[in-house]
Amino acid sequence: MGKGENFVLKTEKLTKIYDKKRAVNEVSIHVKQGEIYGFIGKNGAGKTTLMRMVSGLARPNAGTIELFGQTDIEKQRARIGTLIESPGLYRGMSARDNLEVVRRAYGICDKSVVEHTLSFVGLADTGKKKAGNFSMGMKQRLGIAIALLRSPDFLILDEPINGLDPQGIKQMRDLLLKLNREKNITIMISSHILGELSKIATAYGIIRDGRLAEEFDSAQLARRCRRCRRLLVDNTEHAVHILEEELHIKEFDVPENGIIRIYEQLEDTSRINRSLTLAGINIRENYLAGQDLESYFMELVENEATVKSGKE
């Protein structure tokens, strides 16, 4: 990512240690203005901890955070809206009362902002129903309404579609796209539902065991998930050398030892076979394969993949 780009969020070697365990380990992420940044990782990978540090709920042990290009993050945090883990709602109050408390705390003079925000998230007709009696989807939407109350420029949403039914997921997806497109709000969103995330995200960050494994955008993702030739060989290092030096193949990766995925010259099976065999490499498998987004994500999240190509 170039220097001239406007970063809404930039962290540098951000670290959080709990009981000597590095929950977040020197993570440097970059969220550009206007993006929907999908933050992906297994349970306990460090997603929520990082979001909590950015939101000011937890203090980093090391590293720096920049918001909107500024380092006075306490002040800049006034420009972000957050929904971390579960929405923070007063269960005994109505949706309107919940927003009213937050409106007063933020010092928003315009009282109509409560009604507008409720309408925007589709909760205008909940009346005096207490938040404790809301469905999961309604609670999530009220959580987003609270996050939106101060017209933020940047939304941080941690697992906002957790526990939602398919209809709720679709409503949430439409809401997030609406926020991004109509209000130009940059969104950082974490989710386990990778297929769903891929429908809205324009950039991705993969976190594994507290470390940021990769960052890429949706165009790069599309290239990586294209069809490939998958080889299973007995000498990976030598095979890689042959591919590069003899066959001049540049676009390939080695997801794990013994497996090579080639993304170019897909129809040239015999030439690849011949060159590798002549070099004394035993080819156990050689077939054309394609990856869907979900399996690609799973591979990134699960394995220490060494993606050599496609890292533009």
Binding site: R52, S55, G56, L57, A58, R59, E74, K75, Q76, R77, A78, I80, T82, I84, E85, S86, P87, G88, L89, Y90, R91, G92, M93, D97, N98, E100, V101, V102, R104, A105, Y106, G107, I146, R150
Partner: protein
């Protein structure tokens, strides 16, 4: 800060625990008078036995005695404590604290605003209790009971207890800030309200036995609440009350604000 106080006031207005505590404290403050009224009505035989003793006890009593019973015996304080704890931990139980922390609002201000409003709630419970004790007493004992130094004693005693209450609120808020869950209620009721004074008395005894001429309980707010006289309060006691309450108030508030600023929000 004004915005935060505004928001906390709205929460107080909507708080069920506050309304319930207010109602219970009001009902409890009228119990003595209610019993008196029942006895006076003649529905219950009060010519002998326990009923006669109770009637005599009430008849021999006064508005000031009832006020002391409400405040010094911590009868009202139990309702105040439950309200304080439930209100203080509500933001943590609901997770709503996340809506305010890290939004350009300083955590110290959040804590201070919460203290001011819980204090306001607690003071209103005390004032309502004192008012009902006075009004009920006027009906029960008649206007003759309001004589000479009555108003002076009434207001000095009430003022001292409001000072103690301010300090007590800060201590309970600190306990709740540290626990951030229902354990705060248990520690506050059993640890601070009920057991702290007896424990300090035992420590005093042990220290006396060891030849140390110093009573630690003289410097604990619960001891002051229990020992505050209803009339002819010595100036030295008032001064000691002010200093002890002030030190505990500042210490608890500062500790709570620092802890709130330092600890991560779960």
């Amino acid at each position: 800060m004004i915005n935060l106080i505004h928001a906390e006031l709205y929460k107080l207005k909507k708080s069920t625990s506050y309304k319930v505590a207010l109602l219970l404290a009001a009902l409890f403050s009228m119990i003595t008078y209610f019993v008196y009224a029942v006895f006076q009505s003649g529905w219950i035989d009060t010519s002998s036995g326990l009923n006669a003793a109770m009637l005599k006890s009430i008849t021999d009593s006064s508005i000031l005695d009832t006020l002391r019973q409400m405040f010094a015996n911590t009868n009202t304080l139990i309702f105040v404590t439950i309200f304080l704890c439930l209100f203080a931990i509500s933001d943590y139980r609901s997770g709503a604290v996340k809506n305010f922390v890290g939004k350009g609002i300083r955590r110290e201000k959040l804590y201070l605003a919460r203290f001011l409003i819980t204090e306001l709630g607690a003071v209103s419970i005390y004032l309502l209790t004192a008012f009902l004790v006075f009004v009920g007493g006027m009906f029960c004992y008649g206007s003759d009971s309001v004589n000479g130094t009555f108003f002076h004693d009434f207001f000095v005693f009430l003022t001292l207890h409001l000072i103690y209450l301010t300090c007590y609120t800060a201590i309970i808020l600190l306990v709740c800030e540290i626990t951030r869950n229902v354990a705060g209620i248990l520690i506050s009721i059993f640890g601070v309200l009920m057991l702290s004074s007896p424990i300090l008395s035992v420590i005093d005894l042990l220290m006396n036995a060891a030849g140390v001429r110093f009573e630690i309980s003289d410097y604990w707010i619960m001891s002051l609440i229990a020992s505050c006289p209803i009339n002819d309060i010595p100036t030295a006691f008032i001064v000691r009350s002010g200093i002890v309450a002030g030190v505990w108030l500042i210490g608890s508030l500062a500790g709570g604000m620092l802890y709130h600023s330092w600890r991560d929000i779960a």
